[in-house]
Symmetry: C2
Subunit: 423 residues, 2 copies
């Protein structure tokens, strides 16, 4: 297809008229779709619930440790849940803490701990003057919100299909005020990129100037494949150990998108030293997390294979949704040179880039016609996409028909924005 | 009975020999009892579980708001859970946030917020130099641990049957570096005192010099009566409103000792202004708490009366345990002038005071004979009981027979310690 920039004046006018007509039609159709968050659909959650129903009623709440999961105790989690997460993340059980329903809360509290008490025996971040974090962009808005809340200055590093720009990362970590980095290493939010082996190895080798540098390794989509063949990610701790750098990484994950978004189980994997410091804080913060929910989870999903089997069922629901959106994008925009996107093998998002630098305007056009997207800019720190380019598409919740309509609206909006940008 | 200090030399020798003989007998009997924490017994938890079983299986996880409790959302809790806690605490639903399984975590995070971000638009506590808290003593060790963790200096104020020494409190709050106070206003931990109306009114009237003074009103034992007639506590917000002081108080409670110690539901009650600031932080910290557990709770216990009915069943289990310990204390020590204690109408503890100032020694004697008590001193900040007097007895977990044996051991140990102190 001819690129839009090469269109004749007449072609462009016809293109615009067509887009405008379709936009108005959609706008007048009473469309109302929310694609702002990566919210699993009820169909998906119903499947998860069925798996729990199989193990109900639970009449025995004893953990294999002999302790009563209903009572206080077992701060780091019940042994069977620690085993399950250890197996999922490929680490030793002693390097696991099983948390509550929210890995976000585990990340927040870890960063809060570094801020108020320091990590690795170093001064608290709040007493070190400027503290900076590397923000891999586009990225997850809730990571950026935590850093912003604690006044941590974010420095953008671009991601591509291999992961973050490691040349830039290796340069930035020479600055001792750079204290950490947010990574979603598999099916990155929003692009769906998985870090290449070379990227993981370069991250594992890092010797940051700051002794209290910590990577928030948010493995949120660890088994969240959409197709039969998923991406492979190296085990960060296996690699980091080779260079004595295990302390640089703290890994987080949860079953929020495996079982229940609001009532799953989360976990931390970390080095002996980091686990010890985190537990010292948790001893003050909480008596124990909800172990009845931990037990429900391991009864319903005793092994990682059981979790993966669940994800295969979810993929059957998610794949057609991703395909629906991607097909419309291909059909409407391929070759025009006005937008670009990646076809992820898993995760929860499609990252849509308006190459004419008019993402905000596209967002406005969509909103006016009834489609709520993730706030344009939210995939960057301080909600500021310097190129006004990125829009995150979250296809998990709406139906396939809704997604087709939403994607069409997005495309005609992008076309209108492109014509405007060109003229 | 004659006080020990009035015993003749011969009487004292016989008293000591008898106590020593009984101590050795108990020590050699292989006693092994843990009374260190206020842990509900399995019998109690079984009762709670039965109440949940009545509502299982839950096939409909829709909140009355029409939202799916399994999915993300509803940061401040599901409406029906907010109603239940609003009714329990006697406040408006808009002044409630329903949390996860741990009110301790809610308190920790609130204090952390004041520390890192300030409250009421004031400077963060971490930037204000010395920050002090009033510690009502004896008190709850986990409150003191939070303050200690954040470097908040604690100033002891004694409690008696009317609550904290209000003359002292009113003096201390003239100091703008005094930022708050920990209160367990009903069935205080460990004494089981309930603040008198006069005390609550004086607290409600306080005009502290610090604009960011906050009372942690930990209403942990709000309906935790042991007898048919319980203590009455004034509603702190009703009183505080009369003086425009609602912002001074943040109330916490949970069902940890109503349903499941490790898997209950917690809540915050606070003024509009405090709720707004807490929610602004929670928006960054967590997507939502476990709403499936909130729903389970309101299905099993739709009203406060249902919760109170549960507590009546628990009282049947707890009362004989309290009575067993108190009977032994009365029988062994009444009138000797060597120890004192209060008979609480509810809560989880009996506070035992070794009036000869040898609590640590009594703790050691007990431990050597197989009885684990709450670490002596733990009921004071920095684990330092200046009078070496207070021992917290937690009778909820052991059986009645175990409690009798434990109380006897405690009494003979107190006797031996008293003889030692006198000589």
């Amino acid at each position: 297809m001819k690129q839009l920039k090469d269109f004749t004046k007449e072609e462009l006018a016809a293109f615009e008229a067509d887009a405008k007509k379709r936009y108005d039609e959609i706008k007048n159709s009473g469309l109302k779709i929310d694609m702002s968050r990566g919210k699993p659909s009820p169909e998906q959650i119903d499947i998860a619930e069925k798996d729990f129903e199989k193990v109900y009623p639970i009449t025995d709440y004893m953990s294999k440790s002999g302790m009563d999961c209903r009572n206080y105790g077992m701060l780091s989690g019940i042994p069977e849940a620690k085993e399950l997460f250890a197996s999922l993340l490929g680490v030793n059980e002693k390097n696991i803490i099983v948390g509550g329903n929210a890995s976000l809360e585990l990340m927040y509290s870890f960063i809060a701990q570094c801020y108020t008490h320091g990590i690795g025996g170093n001064e608290p971040w709040c007493k070190q003057g400027d503290v900076k974090f590397i923000a891999v962009v586009p990225g997850y808005d809730r990571h950026f919100s935590i850093a912003e809340y604690f006044g941590i200055k974010m420095v953008n590093v671009r991601i591509d299909k291999n992961g973050p720009d490691m040349d830039k990362v290796e340069e930035l970590i020479k600055d001792p005020s750079v204290k950490g980095m947010f990574c979603v290493p598999k099916y990155s939010n929003p692009d769906g990129y998985t870090y290449s082996d070379e990227t993981v190895i370069r991250l594992a080798k890092m010797k940051p100037a700051a002794p209290d540098f910590r990577v928030i390794w948010d493995n949120a989509y660890i088994i969240h494949e959409i197709y039969d063949t998923g991406d492979e990610l190296l085990n960060i701790f296996d690699e980091a150990k080779k260079y004595g750098n295990e302390d640089n990484f703290v890994e987080f994950c949860s079953t929020s998108k495996i079982t229940f978004p609001g009532a799953g189980v989360s976990a931390i994997a970390a080095s002996d030293a980091n686990i010890k410091e985190i537990l010292a804080r948790l001893t003050v913060q909480i008596i124990s997390y909800d172990k009845m929910n931990q037990l429900r989870h391991v009864r319903a999903f005793p092994t990682v294979d059981d979790l993966k089997a669940e994800m295969k069922k979810f993929a059957e629901i998610l794949r057609p949704k991703f395909v629906a959106v991607l097909d419309v994008l291909d059909k409407e925009l391929d070759g025009l040179g006005i937008a670009s996107w990646h076809k992820p093998n898993g995760g929860y998002f499609i990252s849509f880039n308006v190459d004419t630098g008019s993402a905000k305007y596209v967002g406005e056009l969509c909103r006016e016609a009834g489609l709520t997207l993730t706030s344009v800019g939210a995939t960057f720190p301080y909600k500021n996409d310097p190129d006004d380019r990125n829009i995150r598409i979250a296809p998990s919740y709406p139906s396939v028909d809704e997604l087709k309509a939403a994607a069409e609206l997005l495309c005609v909006s992008a076309k209108l924005a492109a014509v405007k940008a060109l003229s």
